[in-house]
C-alpha cells in the first residue's frame, strides 16, 4: 500500500469514527435543501432543473469546507502528533496529499448524498441530466479548491479557529473576485492587468460554466492548478513550521 493511501485511509477513518463526517454531511444536505426549496423557490419556479440547488453551493462551501480543512494540520500541530507523523518514513508531500484526498472524498460523499433532490427532479420533470452531472463535478472541484486553500492555511497555525476564519475569508475572496460589484469597484484605479487577474481568478465564473453544462478544459485546468499550487504552499509551510 502506498503511503498516500495509508494516510488517506487513516484520515477517512478518523472522519467517520468521530461525529465530524456525519454532522458535516447532514448539515450540508440540510442546508442545500433549505436553500433550494425556500430561497430558490424550487417548486414555484416550475422548471425541471437544479439551478437553485447548485447556485447555493459556492456560498455553502465557503462556510463548510473550512470547517473540515481547519483541523487538517492545526490539530496535528496542536497535539504534537505531527512529530510522530513526520518521523515515520512518510514525506510531507505524501502526508499533504493523503489528508487532502480523504477530506475531498468525504465532501464527495456529502455531494452524492444530496441525490434525493436529483431523483425528485427526475420524477417531476425531464431535466438535462448532463447538466446535473457537470454541475456536481463543478461543485466538487470548487470544494477541492477551497479545501486546498484551507489545508495550506491550517498548516500556518495551531489554532483551529484562526484557521477556520482565515480560510473562510480567503475562499470568500476567491468567490467574490468574479462578481461585477468587485470588478467595478476596482475599475479605474487598479491597473488593467490586476483587474484581469482578479477576474480570471474567480472561482465562481468557472463554477457557473459547469452549471450551464459546459465542461471547459480551461475551468478544469484552473481548478487543478490552484489545488496543486495551494498543496505545494501547504508542503512548504509544513516543512518550515512543523516544529514551531
Amino acid at each position: 500500500m502506498n503511503n498516500i493511501v495509508i494516510i488517506a485511509k487513516r484520515e477517512a477513518k478518523a472522519y467517520f469514527s468521530t461525529p465530524l463526517a456525519y454532522i458535516f454531511i447532514s448539515i450540508f444536505c440540510g442546508l442545500t435543501a433549505a436553500f433550494t426549496f425556500y430561497l430558490g423557490a424550487f417548486i414555484e419556479r416550475g422548471q425541471a432543473d437544479l439551478a437553485p440547488f447548485f447556485e447555493s453551493h459556492p456560498w455553502l462551501l465557503v462556510l463548510l469546507v473550512p470547517s473540515i480543512s481547519m483541523r487538517l494540520w492545526a490539530e496535528e500541530r496542536k497535539t504534537g502528533s505531527i512529530e510522530l507523523l513526520m518521523t515515520l518514513p512518510i514525506t510531507s508531500l505524501e502526508a499533504v496529499i493523503g489528508k487532502f484526498i480523504a477530506a475531498w472524498l468525504m465532501i464527495a460523499v456529502a455531494l452524492i448524498l444530496t441525490f434525493p433532490i436529483w431523483v425528485t427532479i427526475n420524477i417531476l420533470g425531464n431535466p438535462d441530466n448532463g447538466v446535473v452531472i457537470s454541475s456536481y463535478l463543478g461543485s466538487w472541484l470548487l470544494a477541492g479548491q477551497f479545501l486546498a486553500i484551507g489545508s495550506a492555511l491550517s498548516a500556518m497555525t495551531k489554532n483551529q479557529v484562526i484557521a477556520f476564519v482565515v480560510s473562510t475569508a480567503a475562499c470568500f475572496v476567491f468567490v467574490m473576485s468574479g462578481l461585477e460589484t468587485v470588478t467595478q469597484a476596482l475599475e479605474g484605479w487598479m491597473p488593467s492587468y490586476i483587474l484581469l487577474a482578479v477576474d480570471t481568478m474567480s472561482s465562481l465564473d468557472y463554477f457557473e460554466e459547469f452549471t450551464k453544462g459546459i465542461i471547459d478544459a480551461r475551468a478544469i485546468v484552473f481548478y487543478i492548478t490552484t489545488i496543486v499550487f495551494w498543496l505545494f504552499i501547504n508542503v512548504v509551510v509544513i516543512n518550515l513550521k512543523k516544529a514551531k
Binding site: I6, K13, E83, T87, P89, T91, A243
Partner: protein
C-alpha cells in the same frame, strides 16, 4: 558497522536563541545512552534533529551509516521514536493506531500480526486495545507510544522521556523492556530522572544550554563531585579532636568537615584527594587506635547533586 547512531556537531537556533550548540555523539549496537540535562537544555531539540523531524542548521545525523539529510525516508525506516509527551491520534483506538503504524512500517501477513502482538505484549497494553487513545491515562498513553516505537524492531530506538507519568511498577517494567531491546539495538533515552541512568544506561551524556557538559558513565558523573568516595563517621564529641588528628595523618585525605554537632553526637565527613577510595585507610586508623565511633559509611553521592553541580553553580565544591 557497529556505530548505529552518529550525530556530528548538530546545531540549531530558533531566532536568537541557540538551542543546540554543536552536539556530537555515537551510540553503538547494544548501548543505552542516557541523555540528560535540565528542562530547556536542548535534549528534545537534539532528538528531533536525530530523527529527522527538525533540519539542523549545521551538522549531520547518520543512522546505520545512512544520512538523515540525504536519505530521510530510508533513515527513518530504521528508527523507532517516542516523541516527548507520546503524541498519538487521540480519536483512534489503540489497536487502530497500531494497525496504522503497521501499515506505515509495511508489515504484512503473518509477520504483521506477530509483530503487533509482540509490541502489545511488551508494552503491556492488552487491556486497552479497544479503547480510544484520548480516554487513556497518561501511563497507558506513554506505553501505547512505546509500543508504536518498538513494533518494527528498529535498529535505533530514540525515546524522549519514556517513563514520564508512569508509576514505579511501570517504570521498572519499561526499564526492563529497554534493557531487553538494547541487545540488538542502539538506544538513546532522554530523561530527567537520574535513577534511570543508574538503572539502565551504559553511558551518559549531560547537556546544558545546548552544550555537552559530560560524556562518559554514571561513575564519571559522580566523580565530578568533591565528596565522591567521602567517608561519614559518627562519634561522641569528646573523641572529635583525637579522631581528627589521627585521620589527618593519612596522605589520601584532603580535608575533614564537621557536620551536625550536638551534645551527644557529631558527624564527620572525611573528603578524599582525587576521588581516592579511603574507607579502608580510615577504617584502619580507627581500628588501630580503637577510636570509639558509632557509625561509619561511604558517602553515597546522589546523581542529582552531580547533575545540579554541572548544570548550575549552586554546589560549588570540586577537587579539580
Amino acid at each position: 558497522m557497529a556505530n548505529f547512531i552518529v550525530l556530528d556537531n548538530l546545531r540549531k537556533s530558533f531566532g536568537n536563541i541557540v538551542a543546540v550548540n554543536g552536539i556530537s555523539m555515537t551510540v553503538d549496537k547494544g548501548d543505552i545512552l542516557g541523555f540528560i540535562g535540565p528542562n530547556g537544555s536542548g535534549k528534545s531539540t537534539t532528538m528531533k534533529m536525530a530523527t529527522g523531524f527538525l533540519t539542523p542548521d549545521m551538522g549531520t545525523s547518520h543512522i546505520c551509516g545512512i544520512s538523515m539529510n540525504k536519505h530521510p525516508k530510508e533513515a527513518k525506516k530504521l528508527i523507532g521514536y517516542l516523541p516527548e509527551g507520546a503524541p498519538a491520534y487521540g480519536e483512534m483506538t489503540t489497536i487502530g493506531f497500531l494497525n496504522f503504524i503497521a501499515d506505515v512500517r509495511r508489515l504484512s501477513g503473518k509477520e504483521r500480526s506477530l509483530k503487533i502482538s509482540k509490541a502489545i505484549d511488551r508494552a503491556q497494553i492488552k487491556h486497552v486495545l479497544n479503547q480510544q487513545i484520548d480516554t487513556l491515562s497518561k501511563g497507558f498513553k506513554r506505553r501505547v507510544g512505546l509500543s508504536q516505537a518498538i513494533m518494527h524492531e528498529p535498529k535505533v530506538l530514540i525515546l524522549d522521556e519514556p517513563t514520564d507519568g508512569l508509576d514505579p511498577n511501570q517504570k521498572h517494567h519499561v526499564r526492563q523492556l529497554i534493557t531487553e531491546i538494547s541487545r540488538d539495538t542502539a538506544v538513546i533515552v532522554s530523561t530527567h530522572i537520574l535513577e534511570e541512568v543508574d538503572a539502565v544506561c551504559s553511558g551518559v551524556i549531560l547537556i546544558n544550554k545546548g552544550n555537552v557538559v559530560l560524556n562518559g558513565s554514571a561513575k564519571d558523573l559522580r566523580s565530578k563531585l568533591a565528596n565522591h568516595n567521602a567517608v561519614n563517621i559518627k562519634l561522641r564529641p569528646e573523641n572529635l579532636e583525637n579522631c581528627k588528628r589521627l585521620l589527618l595523618t593519612l596522605s589520601s585525605i584532603s580535608k575533614i568537615e564537621v557536620h551536625e554537632e550536638t551534645q551527644h553526637n557529631v558527624n564527620l565527613k572525611v573528603l578524599p584527594k582525587e576521588n581516592m577510595i579511603i574507607i579502608t585507610d580510615v577504617a584502619k586508623v580507627i581500628a588501630d587506635n580503637k577510636l570509639p565511633i558509632s557509625d561509619i559509611s561511604v558517602d553515597q553521592v546522589r546523581l542529582d547533586d552531580a547533575f545540579r553541580k554541572l548544570t548550575t553553580n549552586e554546589i560549588g565544591i570540586s577537587n579539580e
